[in-house]
Amino acid sequence: MIGRTSRVVVPVVTLALLVALTGCGKLGAQPGTGSVGAPGVGGTTGTSSSAPAADDSGAITGITQDLDSADAANTEAGSNADAGDQAGATGDEP
């Protein structure tokens, strides 16, 4: 029984040592390493799906704000143009 156990344990330990010493663990670890570095990569990926929506909203808001300002200026310009017409139409000047 002891002999059988040692025959099983020794290859397992040997295999573990081989994995540890040959760097095969690194291969397995690369995804992990990637994931450590991945906050940037993963973050970018995550942002790329949500950031455009935020950018779009901001861009359209900016356009709308510019148009609001233009409309307000147009309204006042129209009021002034009307006042100018009224003055000109007072009409008691020969």
């Binding site: 359209i60 233009a70 129209g78 100018g84």
Partner: protein, 241 residues
């Protein structure tokens, strides 16, 4: 401003000269009516002319005070034009008050008639001063605010289109092109418009009663362009939401 005052002084001198000669006095049309509806002329009585003069000056004083209030309150006139406009309107206000007192104190119909005519020919409160002020205010509002904002919006829309070609339809492209064209038209029509309107003097109006017609039309056309451009922008923004 000196051009306005100089013009008005020269016009006044010329007017006095004409009336002294008496060559045109009878040909001049009646310029207002007394309270009973009778037009005043060079042959009207002193009291009739004084009555008409009091009404005409009071009306202009009220309008000038209203106009000065509006000019002070407006945010669209640029500083230089506001200064010019306020100088003109305040000078006219002072002139109207002076004429109001002088006409009331005149002792002959001839003198009162000369002063009465000065209300119109030397000042042109409605036909020139107020009208040019409002045209300049409209032009400045378009030039300094509406047009730059439309240009900024068009630039942002172009940037958006470039970043999202999948969202750009021929209709949206056409609207942007129209927005840019209308804005460019507004720029053309308002370039130098305020200065041109403010350069018109009572003397120039006396020589050509249509002298502000083109400026008025340019302001109206530019305003229509600016409104159309804004509508294009609104339609595009709504489609992109």
């Amino acid at each position: 401003m000196s051009r306005f005052l100089t013009s008005r002084v020269l016009t006044g001198v010329a007017t006095v000269g004409v009336l002294t000669l008496g060559s045109l006095a009878c040909a001049l049309p009646a310029t207002a009516a007394t309270s009973d509806g009778t037009p005043v002329t060079a042959h009207s009585s002193l009291s009739a002319i004084q009555q008409a003069g009091a009404a005409a000056t009071a009306k202009r004083i009220t309008s000038l005070n209203t106009g000065i209030g509006k000019v002070n309150a407006t945010k669209t006139l640029n500083a230089a034009d506001k200064s010019t406009v306020l100088a003109t309107l305040n000078a006219d206000l002072s002139g109207m008050k002076t004429l109001q007192s002088k006409i009331a104190a005149d002792t002959t119909a001839a003198t009162a008639w000369t002063d009465y005519r000065s209300i119109f020919t030397d000042y042109r409160v409605y036909a020139v001063a107020l009208r040019q002020s409002y045209i300049a205010a409209a032009a400045d509002g378009l030039t300094d605010t509406a047009i730059p904002k439309l240009q900024a919006a068009a630039t942002k829309i172009s940037t958006y289109f470039a970043a999202h070609p999948d969202k750009v339809t021929p209709d949206l492209q056409a609207k942007l092109a129209d927005m840019q064209a209308k804005t460019a038209d507004a720029v053309t029509k308002t370039t130098g418009l305020a200065a041109a309107a403010l350069a018109v003097t009572p003397a120039a109006y006396n020589a050509n009663h249509a002298i502000l017609t083109d400026d008025r039309a340019a302001a109206r056309d530019a305003l229509a362009d600016s409104k159309a451009a804004a509508q294009d922008g609104r339609a595009i923004a709504a489609a992109l939401k």
